[in-house]
Amino acid sequence: MDLRRVKEYFSWLYYQYQIISCCAVLEPWEQSMFNTILLTIIAMVVYTAYVFIPIHIRLAWEFFSKICGYHSTTAN
């Protein structure tokens, strides 16, 4: 029962996405092409985020901590 409600909710969400982004008026092959391209772009964004964001955060943290450490050493 719950699974059906969830499926209904997702199909409603997909319908909303279709009418907002003009996919509802495209032909089926165009819809598949657009969905594929969009999913590819999202996948690439997610992958890049997964690979690079931890490294960037670590480097940024080191950079700022070095500056604060420099300040504290000069203050002393």
């Binding site: 909303q16 279709q18 009418i19 907002i20 982004s21 003009c22 996919c23 509802a24 008026v25 495209l26 032909e27 165009e30 657009f34």
Partner: protein
């Protein structure tokens, strides 16, 4: 004797101490010029009648999504054009012939691109054939398309009893034959159907004279002239009234017939912002001060073109202010009352009655019989010398066939019905029923949270949809699931980002029908998420208030 009522008995007559407040002297508005004129006329005026209109702006995310959707549609349009150009896909649209490939391209402008790639995809929502009279319920022929709307075929089935929210049937007079239409049958027997001539040759019938006298009586003007087609009334008569060396000030959102007539006349056209009296005043001042462009001579004539009710916006013209401007700068006024005659005003006489003004103050009153009278054709009314001039000089009178006699009889019957000359008050009841239906419909839609444009008394109700995908989904859903026929409008009839659905409320819609429609709109609005309005319950109306409006002479 003690008088308990509070009035004194004097000479046998009872004097009431409470003085009856004289309405026309109590006003203390800032517009001194208008008050003075009204007092001179002695007529009741509605200058500080609240003009309640609203043109709410869409939330930002809606506009962004709309443009994004059009962007995606455009990208796919380029892709399909590329495929069609290189022969990978069959082209169903019009193309130039092989021999014309080196000429100036015919189909490369944006309008053709839009038609080929965006309009074609959702074309099944327009030009739907119907097979019954356009009353409150009608029958729609079912049609399907096998190749994505390039061609259609009829399945043979008919969708019966669809609620009609699209026809301009304001007073419900466009319906099947009933006993009150017997005079039309008689006229058909005597006069036949065709006139086979123009007004100047042998096409002026006594029916036309009877109709013109009745129209002049209805509008309370000196004379009127009727023409066979409403669009042609505008486009063929404006050139007869103005010419080169004249100035036309036309509203931004005027109908194509007015624009065509203005362009055909050869006069200079300047456009003022929609219903915006300050913009109009600025243009008038510049015209009077600077004159014609190169020679700086005075303009021969200045004609202001407005409409009574604008059908795409649902707004009513701000007539009192425009009349004041016209008098101050000595311009002429032409009002196209296509959607407001018969539908607006306490007895259906149009915008002049709605504002309580004298129709003699407007120079040219034009209207059509298509919307409220269930016929076809148009009229121009005004002073007798104006109408006599048009009888001689109008292009429509010289070249176009005059109005068909059964149609003239239908208009005569409708006019008598509305004026009450047939002995009943049904006509007046219908006008009041239309006003009630309009206010109820608009109020309920605003409570539900839709964005509605326009004046609260205009019976044309535009409901904003914005996104092209939702436009198509809305029209299809309403017809197929809910059996309600609606008209949706998109670019180029409206601005690109403001696609809308336009409802025409009719006096023949019963309360149950309106409730059915409202319920269906509620459900569809929730399904498609169309309730964008940000003032839900307390719909504070924006009061039209012009304080920076100079009128002192």
């Amino acid at each position: 004797m003690a008088n308990p009522g509070g009035g004194t008995v004097c000479n046998g007559k009872l004097h009431n101490h409470k003085k009856q407040s004289n309405g026309s002297q109590r006003r203390n508005c800032t517009k001194n010029g208008i008050v003075k004129e009204a007092q001179q006329n002695g007529k009741p005026h509605f200058y500080d009648k609240l003009i309640v209109e609203s043109f709410e702006e869409a939330p930002l995310h809606v506009v962004v999504f709309t443009y994004m959707a059009y962007g995606i549609g455009t990208l796919f349009g380029y892709l399909r054009d590329f495929l069609r150009n290189w022969g990978i896909e069959k082209c169903n649209a019009a193309v130039e012939r092989k021999e014309q490939k080196d000429f100036v391209p015919l189909y490369q402008d944006f309008e053709n691109f839009y038609t080929r790639n965006l309009y074609m995809r959702i074309r099944d929502n327009w030009n739907r054939p119907i097979c019954s009279a356009p009353g409150p319920l009608f029958d729609v022929m079912e049609r399907v398309s096998d190749d994505y709307n390039w061609t259609f075929r009829f399945t043979g089935r008919i969708i019966k009893d669809v609620i009609n929210m699209g026809s301009y049937n304001f007073l419900g007079l466009a319906d099947k034959y009933d006993e009150s239409m017997k005079t039309i049958k008689d006229v058909l027997e005597v006069y036949g159907t065709g006139v086979a001539s123009t007004r100047h040759e042998m096409g002026t019938l006594d029916k036309h004279k009877e109709l013109e006298d009745l129209v002049a009586k209805f509008l309370n003007v000196e004379a009127a002239m009727v023409f066979g087609m409403g669009f042609a009334t505008n486009s063929m008569n404006i050139p007869a009234l103005v010419g080169k060396g004249c100035l036309i000030l036309s509203d931004e959102l005027n109908h194509t017939s007015l624009v065509l007539g203005a362009r055909l006349s050869g006069a200079t056209i300047r456009v003022f912002k929609h219903n915006n009296t300050q913009s109009l005043e600025k243009l008038l001042r510049d015209a009077v001060i600077y004159g014609q462009p190169r020679t700086c001579r005075a303009w021969k004539k200045i004609l202001i073109l407005v409409e009574g009710t604008y059908s795409m916006e649902g707004s009513i013209v701000h007539l009192p202010q425009i009349l004041a401007l016209k008098k101050k700068y000595k311009a002429y006024l032409y009002i196209d009352e296509a959607h407001s005659i018969g539908a607006v005003g306490p007895t259906g006489r149009g915008v002049t009655e709605f504002f309580g003004l004298d129709p003699h103050e407007v120079d040219v009153l034009m209207g059509t019989f298509t919307k409220s009278f269930g016929a076809s054709g148009g009229y121009i009314a005004g002073r007798k010398d104006l109408v006599d001039y048009l009888r001689v000089h109008s292009h429509s009178a010289v070249y176009a066939t005059s109005m068909s006699p059964p149609i003239a009889e239908q208009i005569i019957r409708s006019l008598k019905f509305i004026m009450g000359l047939d002995g009943t008050t049904q006509g007046l009841q219908r006008v009041q029923q239309l006003a009630k239906n309009t206010r109820y419909f608009r109020q309920r839609l605003q409570e539900m949270g839709f964005i509605i444009y326009g004046n609260e008394n205009a019976s044309v109700v535009p409901l904003l949809l914005y996104m092209p995908g939702k436009v198509a989904a809305f029209a299809r859903h309403m017809l197929q699931e809910k059996k309600i026929g609606v008209v949706v409008v998109g670019f180029p009839a409206t601005p690109l980002a403001e696609a809308r659905a336009r409802f025409c409320v009719s006096a023949s819609h019963t309360r149950e029908m309106l409730d059915t429609v409202l319920e269906a709109l509620d459900e569809t609005g929730d399904l498609l998420r169309l309730k964008y309005s940000r003032h839900k319950k307390s719909a504070r109306p924006e009061l039209y208030d012009e304080t920076s409006f100079e009128l002192e002479d």
